[in-house]
Symmetry: C2
Subunit: 308 residues, 2 copies
Amino acid sequence: MSKVFVLGHKNPDTDSICSAIVYAHLKRELGMDAEAIRLGELNNETLYALEQFKASTPRLVERAASEVEQVILVDHNERQQSINDIDEVQVIEVIDHHRIANFETADPVYFRAEPVGCTTTILLKLYKEHAVTVPAEMAGLMLSAIISDSLLFKSPTCTEQDVQAAKELAEIAGVDAQEYGLAMLKAGADLSNKTLEDLVSLDSKEFEAGGHRFEVAQVNAIDVSEVMNRQKDLEVLIGDIVATKGLDLFVFTVTDILNNNSEAIVLGRRTDIIEGAFGSEVTDNRVLMPGVVSRKKQIVPVITEALS
Amino acid sequence: MSKVFVLGHKNPDTDSICSAIVYAHLKRELGMDAEAIRLGELNNETLYALEQFKASTPRLVERAASEVEQVILVDHNERQQSINDIDEVQVIEVIDHHRIANFETADPVYFRAEPVGCTTTILLKLYKEHAVTVPAEMAGLMLSAIISDSLLFKSPTCTEQDVQAAKELAEIAGVDAQEYGLAMLKAGADLSNKTLEDLVSLDSKEFEAGGHRFEVAQVNAIDVSEVMNRQKDLEVLIGDIVATKGLDLFVFTVTDILNNNSEAIVLGRRTDIIEGAFGSEVTDNRVLMPGVVSRKKQIVPVITEALS
Ligand SMILES: [Mn+2]
Ligand SMILES: [Mn+2]
C-alpha cells in the first residue's frame, strides 16, 4: 500500500498537529504507511507540547498530490480549511469534531465526527476499538490537545467525555493534567516574541450576520494588562483592518487563561450592539466579558444574534 | 428530552427500515425518546423480515417538523433522499455507509459513516461500544439488512466486517444465515403482485455521464425467464420512458439471486456502448451479464466510463 498523509487544518492549532501525529501512529500500527504532515507554522503552545513529549515536528507540505494519492483529514472537514490541492487527492478518512460543511466524496469513506471538545478524545476511542496500546508519548500529545481545545476544561465546548479521556491520558503519560496543562497554556500565552500585527491577525476569523461583516480575533494571555497597555497602538492597526476590509465591527479579545475571563477592544460602526449583547458597559472602546473564553460558543453566536 | 425521529431514505429498502427500528431501540436503551419512522411503502422482502422477527412496521411520516425538532438519519445522508422538510429540523446524528454529499450542519454532530456493505454492520459496533445487549429480534433485523444489501454476501460491496457481523447476529437471532437469507430474498423476489409498471419503476435510478443521461432499473428474481417472457410489453413501457425523459440509454436489469448473474433489456440511441462495456453480445435488445449483481459497483461505473 502506498503512503497516505494525515493532516489537520491550516493555521494549525495544538489539536490539529497532535491529532495528525497520533492518528498516523495508530494507522501505522494497523499496517498503513501513514505520515503526519502540517499545513503551517507551529504556535508556542504546540512547540511546548511536542518538546515535552519528545515528538518530532511533522513536515510542512503545501501540495499533497505529487507525493500521495490518498489523505486522511483530522480536526477539520471543510475543503477551504484543508491542503490547497485537496481536490487532486482522495480523502479516505475524516476524524473531526466540527460542524460538517463543504465536504463531498464520490465513494463511501470512513467519516467519524463527534460533538466532543477535541479530536483526540475520539482518537483515544479508536485506539481502544482497535485494541492498540497507547504509548506514553502519544497519550501526552492527546492530553495536550484536549487541554488546548478546552482551555484546561473551562471552555463550554468541553464535554464529560473529554474530561474522562484527559484523566486516562494523564495517567498513561505520567503527568499531572492541571500542572502540565497550566504550563502548556502559559507557554502558549507567552507573547514576548509576538508583534502587535501578530496579535491582531494570528487567530482572527471573519463572520457575517444580518448583512453585516464582523471579525473576532482572540489572544490568550496570562497578564491581560500587558496587552491592553498597548491599546492605542492596537487601535491604529485594528482601525486600518476595519477600513481596508470594510468591516462593521472588530472584536479584539484577550482571554485571561488563569481566571477564565476575557476583555475586548471593540471598533467599527456597530459597536452599539456590544453593551446589549454582553450586558457590560463599553468604556474607552473596551468591554469586560466575565466568564467568556470560547469564541465559537460565547462570542460569535451572541454577536450574530444582535446583528440579525 | 423531547422525541427524536430515526429515519432511513425514501423508497426504503430493508436496510433503511431495519436500521431505523434497531437504532431507535439502541437510543431508547440509552435514554432517548426515539421513534423509528419510514418515508415510503415497504417492499415484500422487508415485510418478510419484519414478520419473521415480530417487529412492528414504523409509522409512515411525511413531515417531521410538526412533531419533532430533531432527527437521526440512517442509511443515507444526502438531503434529497431524506424527509421533505429536512431543512426545518435539526439533524443530530447520521449513521451511514454511502458516499457523503449534499450534507451540511450549523453545529457539530455525531456523524458515523464507514465503507462497509450495510448500515447495521455499524449499528452492531455501536451496541458493543455502549455495552448494550442485542435482543434476538434486533439481531434478526440487523442480519436481514446485511443479507439484503449484500445479496447474501455475494455483492462486491460486501466486506469481511459484514460477513463477521452477520455470523454473530445469526447466532443471537437463532437462525441459519444461508437458509433464512435465501427465504427472505425469495420473498423479495416474488413478483406475482407486481405490475410491469412496478418492475420498471420501483427500483430505478437515473444518472449522467459525458453529457448523456441514462437510467438503470433493477429487479431481483428467482426465475429470470418469468420476467423476460414479457419482453415485448416491457419494451413498450421502457420505450415510453426513454422518449418522455429524453434518455440516451435505459438498462432494465433482472438479477438472478440464486446464481448471481444478471440479464438486461437495453434501449435507447446509445445501446452501442453495451457490448464493449460488458464484453457480451447484444441480441434482440438483450444482454447477459455473468457475475453482475451490483448496480452501484458493476453497472453504473462501467456505463459511466463508456459514455465519458
Ligand atoms: Mn480541535
Ligand atoms: Mn444500506
